[in-house]
Symmetry: C2
Subunit: 171 residues, 2 copies
């Protein structure tokens, strides 16, 4: 059983949270949602999902977790406006812990300057940002880089994203 | 009287459309909203503003307009997923016509690779993207570059943004 931190704010892409979170829980992993404030409710872009977040960002440190999951939608851009989330994500990347980012998720890694030289994918609109940020962008359903960073493009890629994310947690 | 194209999609920042649009109209300029499809209704992030767009992107070309205005919010990121909007914005930049971009507006200019070497500002979350995209980011309420590109950071900057945008249209 691994402890997976999920950083999340309003306007996350509903299924990009729900599907991986359910897949992680189904394999016995613990999923801890982290927002700006403990107990705040965040609402998905499609209004299908409300989450009362487990922890505020000030209450956690990367050392408490085995992996980081960044759902997509507009949540990653909201999160990266707050340097505490940027530093939190950077710590997972620096420590080479598994990081799973889908859709706009890599925006938080760009802000952490942690995607330079890394093979990755993401939503089409951020391809240009990822390339300017010196990532090696691959237009694939899932990219696994250095056995550590798992990225996907859209909800259509969730099956591959979940499969590869879970695989890394078995190591 | 100048013709100003406004590119817009859902989740635009309401006041970042409404305030400049009203200021432009008050000076006698014509404001034409352009979305994915003529007649579609786009809704602001704060749900205060609904716009029935005047033209679909396939019905317009940059040559028909004197200036481009890109309101912020999540609209610019939605627009830049569609290469027609990227090409449209690029044409204004290539032709050195006035371009006004606030908040996340510069995301569309990054996608057009049109911000390299330009002095500009934008919302704090996209500072890193602008810098990776080789813009010279200035943390100011308004930046006017080469008498052509006007950028601002947030709704708090609207007074300066409107003032400098209107000034360029007097030339």
């Amino acid at each position: 059983m691994k402890k997976v931190a999920v950083v999340i704010a309003d306007l996350f892409e509903d299924v990009e949270y729900a599907s991986p979170a359910n897949a992680l829980k189904a394999e016995g992993h613990k999923v801890i949602t982290i927002g700006h404030e403990q107990g705040e409710t965040v609402i998905g872009k499609q209004k299908q999902t409300q989450i009362k977040v487990d922890k505020g960002i000030d209450q956690v440190k990367a050392a408490d977790f085995d992996a980081l999951f960044i759902p997509g939608g507009f949540s990653p851009d909201i999160l990266r406006a707050d340097q505490r989330f940027v530093a939190f994500a950077k710590a997972f990347m620096d420590d080479k812990k598994p990081v799973f980012a889908i859709c706009h998720g890599p925006q938080l890694l760009i802000a952490a300057k942690a995607i330079e030289g890394r093979k990755a994918t993401g939503y089409t609109s951020i391809k240009v940002d990822m390339e300017y940020a010196k990532a090696i962008y691959l237009d694939q359903e899932v990219v696994v880089d250095q056995g550590q960073l798992v990225t996907s493009r859209t909800p259509d890629d969730l099956e591959a994203f979940n499969r590869e994310s879970l695989k890394l947690l078995k190591k």
